[in-house]
Amino acid sequence: MIWQNPWAWLGLGLVAVPVVIHLLTVHTAKIRRFPSLRFLGDAQRVTSRRTRLSDMALLLIRAGVIAAAVAALAQPWLSTPERVAGAQRNVARAIVVDTSESVRPVLDSARGLAAVLAADAATATIIETAAPSRVLGGVVAWLSEQRGARELVVVSDFQRGAFEANDRSALPADIGLRLVRVMAPPGTDGPVDAWRGVRPVSVHTKIVDDRTSAEWVQGASRAAPTWDIEMLAGERDRARASAALTAALAVNAVTPPRGRPVAIVHPGYEQRDELLRASRPATEPWVAGVVQQLVADSALVVAWSEERLLLFTGTQPGTLAAASFVQSVVHALDATPSVEERAAPFTPDDSVRSWERPVMEATTAGGTGSDGRWFWALALTFIVIETVVRRRSRARTV
């Protein structure tokens, strides 16, 4: 059973009305003036009846009248497999294919899907657009001109804004809606660690040998560093490399965002060649921006391995050039939007599923298909029964 106007169920609260009336009327006992009480016997303790429902049948029938009327107003449609299949065969279908940037990698499959759906319908039209929600007005106009059952199909990845709940509610109730998701891999939906701020670090500088060498000593840091930058250098240069990172971070006074692990591989690193061999080209969405920022460094080799970005640099650890490079990396990481921010937020599957509604048989051209008449008939029957029961009850009480 489909309820085309589910808000009408709020009216079910009206069922409380006969209950309240019932309780209030029971509250006062009828007073009858009578010739003599001598044959009536003793008075009975009947005060507890005040809160007890009497004439339950009448109450239930009255509640039934309201419930049936509310159900009819909610415009029910009984979706039996036969009815759905019948509606599907004679459907006029408008298919909107989302051609926005995010769908482009899978556009061919989206088009193929649209063609299949179009072939399956009695009448069909395919609209390709980068903004599906903008063409809905025209689509509805086209569908309104069609006879029989009508359906709108949206083929999209359902990025936020492509098709929203208000677009759905703007559609006439008799138009079926099917939402088909096509996705370009991959998309992640992790929590965004958006914390940015000054890390409390005090730094002491000390010239060690010549002007190009420097040692940065991290002082009384109040919090342990939590960055995702790893300095891979030879045994001899490891301390210098670490110092260069510390210095760069201190100077930048920022923390590179989490979720973008980077390893800077210096020339003297023992496993440099193995790492290079095991790695693959970096295709992660956020890498492009970072690399674009670092392109000035000609010695840079960019690769991806073990879920981190490897930057093979020619700068010797412990030199000012190395520190400058690290600084550039930090800048680049910070300037480029994070993975979570770049990843287009999509409308969750649950919502998309809940927006769908089946095609309904059109009773008349342009008319709404609703089984509400049966509920109206039920309400009418209840009213007749109520009248009969009420009269009998009155005849009994008078």
Partner: protein
């Protein structure tokens, strides 16, 4: 003339005399005389004249024919005197006039109205045959009566008094019956119309006493079907029409018991009346007063013949 007069139709007739006439004429259409026999001057026999006899009783025509002196003898020299005692207590006002209580779909006849029509019909019937009729009612514990006399103008007085009665307060039946018996100076007919709810024992004692004094005592008990059946549903708070005492009753649970007690009361009234030689009749307000009264009078006439 049609005799079919529903209680509601009779109650709707404001002119009590007309209502009484309708009831009585309808009854006469069946060819029945009133069974209220009085002691009217009726010739019985001749006897030889004795010195000292009133000469007005001497049969002059017989003297002329036979030349003998005979005196005429009469069985009685008085006419019937009847006193109608009407109960106007609060309980007789039941069922209350539904029109005044906003329910125009039902026109229930109150026991008092029904009893008034019965009383008027009886008065009319008695007056029409040349007998004397009187009325005794009580209002606010004060007895008021119209003495028993004959004649049309007097009948009008009785009917006017009947027209004025209204139900309310309580009734002292024993006192009323005793007073009515006293008011009839010679042997007569005492007709008591009531529901006989009040002072059952005392009433019976006074009725018995009146019967022993030589009066022809009639007990006409009027009840309404509503009180006989107690056809209400659910919880009802009953208010006594006389004492205004209230009692809350679950009718469904007690209706059968009530009907049993009520039936037993009616049976007791009839049984005791018959035992004491008192004429008894039960009228329900749902009956047409004409046929009901006719049936009653027929039965009474048959009883007198026996």
């Amino acid at each position: 003339m049609s005799t079919a007069l529903s209680p509601a139709a009779v109650a709707a007739i404001d002119d009590l005399e007309l209502a009484a006439r309708l009831v009585v004429e309808g009854m006469r259409a069946g060819g029945h005389r009133s069974p209220f026999h009085g002691y009217s001057a009726e010739f019985q026999q001749h006897r030889p004249y004795r010195a000292g006899d009133d000469l007005k009783y001497l049969d002059w025509k017989l003297l002329a024919r036979t030349d003998r002196l005979y005196s005429r003898q009469f069985r009685e020299t008085t006419s019937l005197a009847a006193m109608i005692v009407l109960d106007t207590s609060g309980s007789m006002g039941f069922p209350e006039d539904e029109k005044t209580r906003g329910r125009e779909d039902e026109t229930a006849v109150s026991k008092l109205r029904y009893a008034t029509v019965l009383a008027a019909s009886l008065a009319y019937l008695i007056a029409e045959q040349g007998d004397a009729v009187g009325l005794l009612t009580s209002a606010e514990n004060r007895l008021s009566y119209v003495p028993s006399r004959g004649g049309k103008p007097h009948l009008r007085r009785v009917l006017a008094a009947l027209d004025r009665v209204s139900s309310g307060g309580s009734w002292d039946p024993a006192r009323s019956v005793a007073r009515a018996a006293e008011l009839l100076k010679r042997r007569g007919v005492v007709v008591v119309i009531s529901d006989f709810y009040d002072a059952e024992e005392e009433t019976r004692r006074e009725l018995r006493r009146a019967a022993r004094r030589g009066h022809d005592v009639s007990m006409i008990q009027v009840v309404s079907p509503e009180e006989a059946e107690l056809s209400y549903g659910g919880d009802v708070e009953f208010e006594d029409l006389e004492s205004h005492e209230r009692r809350r009753i679950d009718v469904r649970a007690t209706a059968d018991e009530y009907r049993g007690r009520f039936r037993a009361f009616l049976d007791r009234c009839e049984r005791e009346a018959r035992r004491d030689g008192i004429d008894y009749a039960l009228f329900t307000t749902a009956e047409d007063p004409g046929p009901a009264l006719r049936r009653y009078l027929l039965r009474r006439a048959e009883a007198q013949l026996r």
